[in-house]
């Protein structure tokens, strides 16, 4: 099947024992598939294994058992068909904003003119005009994540993996970035797998929310978000949004409490 679907099939992850720490089961057998053009949010308490799952999809971590395939081909390692934006700021500090965005294009050996054209397009789409020649260190956190998003998108991946990309930003910047991401997604409907612990963020962006249990993680609930696109920020004040939020809060509260008990926080 070459339907560009991401399939995660019975993936588990156990971190091996280290010194006196016994092996940790981070992820219970997890299966899910993400269809092309979907925006799926994985919602869970911290430490539940949601980032581990995303890293396995990215090929940055190996599953202990199970398989991941994209477009019918098994995932054996990282590759440019799965773009990723990390929670930490991962722009290359020695490259300007524009050169960061070109990174993957250089790797693909595209001609200079084409690189410049693609970079210019994503600079415009992510609102980075005027910052092309800035060093990452000169940018605010929000601007850095815009650049990271542009860098991932410029590579034209089949799926975009977002690992709490706005987690380190302040609340206002965060909402602004959510709107930017939504606008971009509504424009080209690229498949997105988005990991977050923020309920509002998950509902606002995704068309399907998967709730993960406390560690060892498993998908304990699947909640479709029937709010129509294009969505505006005003959707957050509607009763439908409120009802979804109440449901997800109930699901997640229990897990957060379990996670807090098991880690002693």
């Amino acid at each position: 099947m070459s339907d560009k679907t991401l399939r995660i099939d019975g993936v588990t992850r156990t971190f091996p024992a280290r010194g006196r720490t016994p092996p940790t089961l981070a992820l219970q057998p997890t299966s899910l598939s993400v269809a092309p053009g979907e925006f799926v949010a994985i919602l869970g308490p911290s430490g539940c294994g949601k980032s581990t799952l995303l890293r396995i999809v990215a090929g940055l971590d190996r599953p202990t058992a199970g398989t991941v395939s994209l477009d019918g081909r098994p995932v054996a390692g990282p590759g440019p068909n799965r773009g990723m934006v990390f929670q930490s700021y991962t722009l290359f500090p020695w490259l300007t904003v524009e050169r960061n965005i070109r990174y993957g294009l250089v790797e693909r050996g595209l001609p200079e003119a084409e690189q410049a054209a693609i970079a210019a397009r994503f600079i415009a789409r992510t609102g980075l005009a005027g910052f092309e020649n800035h060093w990452p260190r000169q940018l605010s956190g929000g601007m850095q994540q815009r650049t990271a998003l542009a860098r991932a998108l410029a590579n034209d991946p089949e799926i975009l993996l977002l690992d709490e990309p706005f987690g380190a930003l302040d609340h206002q910047t965060r909402e602004l970035m959510q709107e930017l991401l939504l606008e971009i997604w509504q424009g080209d409907r690229k498949t997105v797998l988005f990991v977050t612990h923020d309920i509002d963020e998950a509902i606002f962006l995704a068309n399907r929310v998967l709730v993960m249990s406390a560690r060892p993680g498993r998908i304990k609930a699947e909640v479709p978000v029937p709010l129509p696109y294009p969505r505006e920020w005003t959707v957050k004040t509607t009763p439908e949004f409120g009802a979804l939020k109440a449901r997800l809060m109930a699901e997640i509260r229990e897990e957060v409490r379990r996670a807090a008990v098991s880690t002693g926080t």
């Binding site: 990282p78 773009g83 990390f86 930490s88 290359f92 500090p93 020695w94 490259l95 993957g104 790797e107």
Partner: protein, 257 residues
Amino acid sequence: MQPLRPVPPGARLLLGAGFFAVFLGLWAWVTEGGHVPALFLASPGRTLAAGWSLLTEYGFLGDIAVTVFRVVGGFLIAAVLAVPLGLLMGAFKPVEAFFEPFFSFARYLPASAFIPLLILWAGVGEAQKLAVIVIGSVFQLVIMVAVIAGGTRMDLVEAAYTLGSRPLGILRRVVIPAAAPQVAETLRLVLGWAWTYVIVAELIGASSGIGHMIMDSQRLLDTGQMIFGIVVIGVIGLVTDFAVKLLNRRLFPWAAL
């Protein structure tokens, strides 16, 4: 004074110059005041006079040039050998596992202890002088560069992988540029060490160079010349250090922000 409060630039300059003045004053006081015998320590004035005669009558500029050539030559050879190897060791752990134990041992071998052996192998020519500097700096440099390259941020490496880089691309486009500013700083440090090694090399079996001049002056009990030689090394060191620092800032503007 309050802890950690910065000092204004003008005051900083004044304070920095102030200690030079105090130092010179003390030196002048103990020598001119007759508190130490002139035989052991020349006064600032006599040191300057000795320096002038060295430069004008004894061709000391030639000695300086020879020493600078040796320092730069030995340092460049060490850098050309050590930097690529250190980068490979930092990036690829099997390479590190192969070289690191031996180099960790080798860097404790005192370069000056090799001088008699090196004279036996290479005579008293330039090759021997350069070899002392290379032995003194290359092992240290390899280890330091390997540590820097090994400290490359893992999240940057992972980001590069998700953008399509392959292992060699990671080395070329992530590890090397990430390490470059720190490697440059390390080179600046090692250049300073090269100065110590060159003088040691020139104290034994040399017929030119600053170290040789200092050795000659000892025979004549000319403390003025000896001190002048030492001060010249200090000044050259300070100037090159400053120049390299400036160069590094130019080369890596992103790191200085």
